[in-house]
């Protein structure tokens, strides 16, 4: 599904150039559940952002279903994210001014689709993660676990092929974390490809393959039997 060849990412400020990723080669198969682990600042999130096309590599090739993303214009990337990708963030990134249902619907806001269908899909997504009863609340009225489940609902409402999760359990207690992992496992079982950044070895174990990173490089890949 995804192939990264020699991906390099450097950030330039006025004085210094910081290298975030060096020589990353990575293949993600369709239907895979991949975990990325490593200490803070090793480039996990940058890699995830590049996979999600919300950041661009400085050099290297990124093939998404055979198409080189590096050469695709911004408007087409927006369409790709809209139709095929779903994001789950550590800090949830829900918009305070909108209700939970509106936050979930935001992922469909930029698609042309009958309003009825949008509503049905939003309801289905909220049902799936168990927050339908909170639909008219605002994010700050919910617990962290509920907020993260709302964020997952938003990520899956568009029925993406690839879900990118950046430490989805990082801000959650054990019980809520387990619930979120349950949901992700079920989504993977239903056919979604998932790439997840995590600090938790236990949660990484749930994934079928784990990639370890240090200082912007991939150290090793551990593959488990299904």
């Amino acid at each position: 599904m995804i192939q990264l060849n020699a991906i390099h990412r450097a950030y330039r400020s006025d004085e210094v150039e910081t290298t975030a990723l060096t020589e990353i080669d990575l293949t993600v198969e369709a239907g895979e559940f991949l975990a990325i682990m490593g200490p803070s600042g090793c480039g996990k999130s940058t890699l995830l952002n590049i996979l999600g096309t919300i950041d661009r590599p400085t050099s290297g090739a990124y093939l998404f279903e055979g198409e080189d993303i590096a050469k695709v214009p911004e408007a087409q990337l927006a369409r790709l994210r809209r139709d095929r990708l779903g994001f789950v963030f550590q800090s949830f990134n829900l918009i305070d001014e909108l209700t939970i249902a509106e936050n979930v619907a935001l992922a469909l806001a930029y698609r042309s689709m009958p309003a009825r269908e949008k509503r049905e899909r939003v309801d289905a997504a909220m049902d799936r993660v168990g927050i339908a009863h909170r639909r008219n609340h605002h994010p700050h009225q919910l617990s962290g676990g509920q907020q993260q489940r709302a964020a997952i609902a938003r990520a899956i409402v568009g029925e993406p092929k690839l879900i990118l999760a950046d430490e989805p359990t990082g801000n959650l207690d054990t019980e809520n974390g387990a619930q979120v992992m349950d949901i992700l496992t079920r989504l993977n079982a239903d056919g979604a490809t998932i790439v997840m950044v995590t600090h938790s070895p236990a949660h990484a174990d749930i994934a079928r393959r784990t990639v370890h990173m240090l200082d912007g490089r991939i150290l090793s890949a551990v593959r488990r039997a299904a």
């Binding site: 919300i54 408007a75 927006a78 369409r79 809209r82 990134n93 930029y110």
Partner: protein
């Protein structure tokens, strides 16, 4: 305090854009306000600086006659004060009689403003005296009072007291000795003159001096207070019933009342409206700037929520925080006021020349603007500081952290800002509409059809002089006609821009005088009048010496033979003829027997504000009094004007020459002031709109900054750059569109009223409204897009990292 100022300085330098918008916008607003405040104070301050001016009243006369303007005239019959004194011995009053004079020095003659006044004039109108005693001076019939300027012009630096000048007044020559010198005329003085001579009935008075209904001079009365003046107005009605009404003036047609001298300058409602409007522009521009400032200050405060949260965690009390914000706000406004003052000072010389004004900023003394500025700084600083202080000091530090949007003062804050943006843009759009209409009207007036081509016309005004002999007058006309390039010469009691003789007569169709009896202006014209002006003949013919009945001069005095008259279009309607053709050959009565021989189109000889009115022309081949010469020429105006003046100097060497092109003559009198005021208004309006845009830009910048993370989320969810721009623009467009709804009716009413002060005016077309609004919306969109573009295009990952 020190730490608050340091923090203030850092917040200025750290948020350079906000600081520049904040202070720059407010400074501009203050500058506009200051300049227009000075203008309004100048215009409303006329004569108020004269000690005791508030106790002086001018007698004004109003005619209530069909076809005659109802505007009160502040001039009366010459001897009215004498009659009043006979009936009311305690009455204190004085007279001001502009005569004009020519000062002769050897072969050089110069026209001077010369006025005959009663000896007590300077006791009542207490103009500053430089030397001598003006009251004692005027007791002597051969002594005069002159201004400093006249003293310097004719006597140099030596003492002028006791020295004499030879002065021609009317057609006689006198010698006057200088008895006193007063300060030069001021720009904010209504009754001005350079030379004052004692009132002298025997020397200057004509038969008109004792003729009720004539308007020779200003009669000023002195009352201890307004109540006494009011009471005497009633006496004036009784006085008129006793002394005035009779065959000449009938009761109900004429009325006298009192006009405070201090109200004289802005007595014309149109002038008053202009000054009020410009004052409102100044106040509203300042309001826009203040609203801006408060808006940006409260918005920016939200961005500093983190700082406030940290300060609070470190133990900063609410009180200390409020104090910090207040000090910051007052210091910022003080800085803006200082910059505004500097801007106003820089702009004043330019504005003075643009607007024909003489405004200066006084820092100290009675006219000081310092107290007003101080109040402004404290008030605006207080309001601008209190709101964010209250909002920020109330932030719960915990809530600040876990939010996709930085706090912006909550829903109430956002709603307040939206309301303020609406107010601001409503004013700005109303200004934009006003400017568009005013510029369109000014352009219309400048290009309007006056009934005659205005290029290539030259008016010799000094032909009006009483001291020209009739042979000289005839010789002058012949000499002008011989100047190369001259294609036509005429003399008449009026000329474009000049209309000294405004004799109105009640004229009617015999048999219809019971119902239609308008008061029409009679104008006597010489040869080639309509031909020289190029007036459009609508029906019949114009005057021709070949028709003996045309020449009023050939008519035997008291004869009942009708004389020929030409009507203008307006007179045809006023006299009740069905059409111009219908009037031809018809008899008229009221000022001797007349026959209509022709009708011409209206000639607009005065400004666009005054109606042309109905005019009855008659022709005289004999050089008559009170006439101007108008010359039509082709080619370069400069050499033609020089040749005309040379001809004058040859034939009338002792008479001062005065001539101008019609463009100048009309423009100077009737168009210049409107053009100047339109420029002032445009300046204020453009700056107000600019300040409004600065505000919108600042708010857009603030809002975009606050929503960077949200934009990142939306983009991660598949929103394109266009989607994001649309989101931001629509949000800001809504208040701007609502502002239109408020601005349109306001501008409609205001402009309708302004246009109604013009006789020749454009229609109030919706085009101006659509144009101005479209411009405002375009500017708003451009402003918001200019601000949002960078953020909307940025990599979403960067936005998501934004704190």
């Amino acid at each position: 305090m020190t730490s608050a100022l340091i923090s203030f300085y850092r917040s200025l330098t750290r948020h350079k854009l906000f600081a520049a918008l904040n202070i720059g916008g407010l400074a501009l607003g203050i500058a506009v306000f200051l300049v227009l405040y000075l203008f309004v104070r100048f215009e409303t301050g006329f004569d108020r600086w004269i000690p005791g001016a508030d106790r002086l009243y001018m007698i004004q006369e109003t005619y209530h006659m069909p076809g005659y303007p109802e505007t009160p005239s502040p001039y009366t019959m010459g001897a009215e004060l004498e009659h009043l004194r006979a009936d009311y011995p305690q009455l204190v009053g004085t007279r001001f009689w502009p005569l004009g004079g020519i000062v002769r020095q050897g072969s050089v003659s110069s026209s001077e403003d010369l006025t005959a006044v009663d000896p007590n004039y300077f006791q009542l109108v207490r103009l500053p005296v430089i030397a001598g005693d003006p009251t004692r001076a005027l007791a002597d019939p051969d002594t005069m009072v002159i201004t400093q300027r006249v003293a310097t012009t004719y006597f140099g630096t030596g003492s002028p007291l006791g020295r004499t000048l030879t002065i021609v007044i009317g057609d006689k020559t006198y010698s006057y000795r200088v008895g006193a010198v007063i300060a030069d005329n001021r720009k904010d003085q209504s009754l001005t003159s350079e030379i004052y001579v004692p009132m002298n009935r025997a020397r200057f008075a004509s038969e008109w001096f004792d003729h009720w209904g004539s308007t020779s001079l200003a009669t000023l009365l002195h009352f201890p207070d307004a109540a006494a003046a009011k009471a005497f107005e009633g006496e004036l009605h009784r006085f008129a019933a006793r002394r005035v009404f009779g065959d000449n003036i009938k009761k109900g047609e004429w009325e006298q009342s009192l006009r405070p001298l201090t109200a004289h300058h802005l007595f014309d409602p149109a002038d008053n409206a202009v000054v009020t409007t410009l004052g409102a522009v100044g106040a509203l521009t300042l309001l826009i700037a203040i609203v801006n400032y408060i808006n940006l200050a409260t918005a920016r405060a939200g961005l500093r929520a983190r700082e406030v949260a940290v300060r609070k965690v470190l133990g900063g009390t609410r009180r200390a925080l409020v104090r910090q914000f207040l000090i910051e706000a007052v210091a910022t406004v003080a800085l803006a006021a200082l910059i505004g003052l500097a801007l106003a000072e820089l702009a004043l010389p330019f504005l003075n020349s643009l607007g024909g004004l003489n405004l200066t900023i006084h820092y100290w003394g009675a006219n000081s603007i310092m107290p007003a500025l101080l109040v402004l700084v404290l008030l605006v600083g207080g309001i601008a500081g209190l709101y964010p202080a209250a909002v920020l000091a109330g932030f719960r530090p915990a809530a600040v952290l876990a939010s996709a949007r930085a706090p912006g003062g909550g829903k109430a804050g956002a709603r307040l800002r939206a309301a303020l943006v609406i107010v601001q843009f409503a004013i700005a759009i109303a200004f934009a509409i006003g400017t568009t209409v005013m510029l369109a009207q000014t352009a219309h007036v400048q290009a309007a059809d006056l009934g005659f081509p205005r290029d290539g016309l030259y008016v010799v005004r000094s032909y009006y002089s009483d001291s020209l002999g009739k042979d000289q007058k005839a010789a002058l006309l012949r000499a002008f006609a011989a100047v190369p390039g001259v294609t036509g010469v005429t003399s008449a009691q009026n000329a474009p821009g000049d209309q000294n003789m405004t004799n109105h007569s009640t004229i009617f169709q015999p048999g219809k005088e019971a119902t239609i009896k308008p008061s029409l202006m009679k104008v006597q014209v010489g040869d080639n009048y309509f031909e020289t002006f190029g007036a459009r003949r609508i029906a019949g013919r114009v005057f021709d010496r070949a028709h003996p009945g045309d020449d009023f001069a050939l008519r035997i005095k008291g004869s009942q033979t009708p004389y020929s008259v030409v009507l203008n279009r307006d007179a045809v309607a006023k006299l009740g003829f069905r059409s111009p053709q219908d009037a031809i050959g018809k008899p008229l009565g009221g000022d001797g027997a007349m026959t209509v021989i022709g009708v011409v189109d209206d000639l607009r000889f005065r400004g666009p504000r005054e109606p042309v009115g109905g005019v009855v022309y008659n022709f005289s081949s004999y050089p008559f009094g009170g006439a101007f010469v108008t010359i039509r020429y082709t080619g370069d105006p400069r050499p033609t004007a020089d040749a005309i003046e040379a001809a004058w100097k040859r034939i009338a060497p002792t008479e001062p020459f005065s001539g101008r092109t019609v463009e100048e003559n009309l423009y100077k009198r009737y168009y210049e002031q409107d053009a100047q005021r339109t420029r002032l208004f445009t300046m204020g309006a453009v700056l107000a709109i600019g300040i409004g845009c600065i505000g919108l830009y600042g708010l857009a910048a603030f809002d975009t900054t606050r929503r960077i993370k949200e934009i990142g989320i939306r983009k991660a969810l598949g929103a394109s750059t266009r989607d994001v721009l649309q989101l931001l623009v629509v949000k800001f467009l809504r208040p701007v569109l609502i502002a239109n709804l408020i601005a349109w009716p306001l501008a409609w009413v205001a402009m309708q009223r302004w246009l109604s002060t013009f006789d020749d005016r454009i229609g109030l077309s919706p085009v101006y409204f659509v144009l101005a609004s479209a411009l405002a919306v375009l500017i708003a969109i451009a402003t918001v897009i200019g601000q949002s573009w960078r953020v909307a295009r940025a990599e979403p990952a960067r936005a998501l990292r934004y704190e």
